[in-house]
Symmetry: none
Subunit: 141 residues, 4 copies
Amino acid sequence: MVISLRKARTLIRKALEKGRELGLKPLSVIVLDAGGHVIAFEREDGAAPGRFAIAQGKAYGSVMLGMAGTAQMQRAEAQAYFMAAVNGVYGGQVVPVPGGVLLRDRKGAVIGAVGVTGDTSDNDAIAAMAGIEAAGLTGEI
Amino acid sequence: MVISLRKARTLIRKALEKGRELGLKPLSVIVLDAGGHVIAFEREDGAAPGRFAIAQGKAYGSVMLGMAGTAQMQRAEAQAYFMAAVNGVYGGQVVPVPGGVLLRDRKGAVIGAVGVTGDTSDNDAIAAMAGIEAAGLTGEI
Amino acid sequence: MVISLRKARTLIRKALEKGRELGLKPLSVIVLDAGGHVIAFEREDGAAPGRFAIAQGKAYGSVMLGMAGTAQMQRAEAQAYFMAAVNGVYGGQVVPVPGGVLLRDRKGAVIGAVGVTGDTSDNDAIAAMAGIEAAGLTGEI
Amino acid sequence: MVISLRKARTLIRKALEKGRELGLKPLSVIVLDAGGHVIAFEREDGAAPGRFAIAQGKAYGSVMLGMAGTAQMQRAEAQAYFMAAVNGVYGGQVVPVPGGVLLRDRKGAVIGAVGVTGDTSDNDAIAAMAGIEAAGLTGEI
């Protein structure tokens, strides 16, 4: 299953709406395909200029490792040098915290990932899940 | 003047519509702010996975040099080693061809750039301009 | 459609056999998935140590641009600075010559790419196509 | 002694079979020569796309340092900044955990390395050793 641009748009729009509803800081949301390549990205007015790279890093590490942000954070806390090394082999593009969410199809295969950044990592993940559900997809935090 | 996410969305949507209207290949469109940082990006279904980097390269070089794609291309054709050197100092992120369009405010100050890729460079620029006009902005090809 | 490891193995084995049959120099063959990530690679005895990167570069550029080696070479010959710039945005991983072959499914969607290196670019492409046909896939040189 | 492609194939095939026998997650296996260059690699169906880089990082660090994964991990735990610095000089390509296995000839000289990734680091090393023994080589975990 391939994530269409139409679904990616819905996902981003709804994740941002969730952020407004909860009164979160300005968010940035990215949707990557199963190869870790960008389908769509939006940064809300008022967000810091460097948010693209953080959103991408959360989602990119999730796809490349097949491991969502929460699991990456646990590994980073247990074995910091391992996640540092993983970051080396992926060109420094991995941000191992919640807000990186794996997207799976009905059979469980990874079809892409979402990265949200701007508020706390946990709130970022809540906004991501709201968008994922609105787009009819299944997310793994 | 700052480009709002609302304007960036309109710009991208209308650029993609122009591509459909003209029967172009699947397009990818990026909008950068005055610092060269991503505000929004969309890649149409069927576009090659690497299109983000090319769209970004067209727009990034435009902002960083204050020179749109056509002028960059002329410089590249007249003095290839200069643009190669420029690419070195900007980390290889400059793609000096049409489809990179500068955005200016009424006083002529650069407020960002658009990058479109997917069809011929000239058609990419046409789609970019359609989006820019629909968003009420002024573009320099 | 996803390229299985089983198919990738058949493809590589048959491409190498073709090279032996034609008396080519030692070959190296890579198979990438639709996101440009390595599924399998083999380097024949006697090949130079750096062949992995060349095989990967031929196949990676093909996937990322959605353009096979022959088309990349034509673009490089017509507009050298453009392909140099493309190489910049893809981290110097693009080798724009024949031997990079796109793999498509029945609907024409890109499902991956093959990269062969070791002999002349044209012979590399012949070996690639032999492997691709033996694996029941469709290649675009 | 040079590792032939024939031996590398046997090694990979048997390591993957061991993984299936033990019910491990999908594995990826790389074989590098004495210069740290890729001879062969295979990624099983269902493995995350980024597994090549991790397999390579485990094996590359082993060859370049002449120190297998377990010894690298001990050094990383005792002196994290040293392994971080080592990673800097090797371009971020070192992943210092078990699953990186040194290959030695009868006189003890390093002739290459194997990298396995996909399950726990310890299980990765078990699969690597099964492949190494099947290929008639001697491994150091």
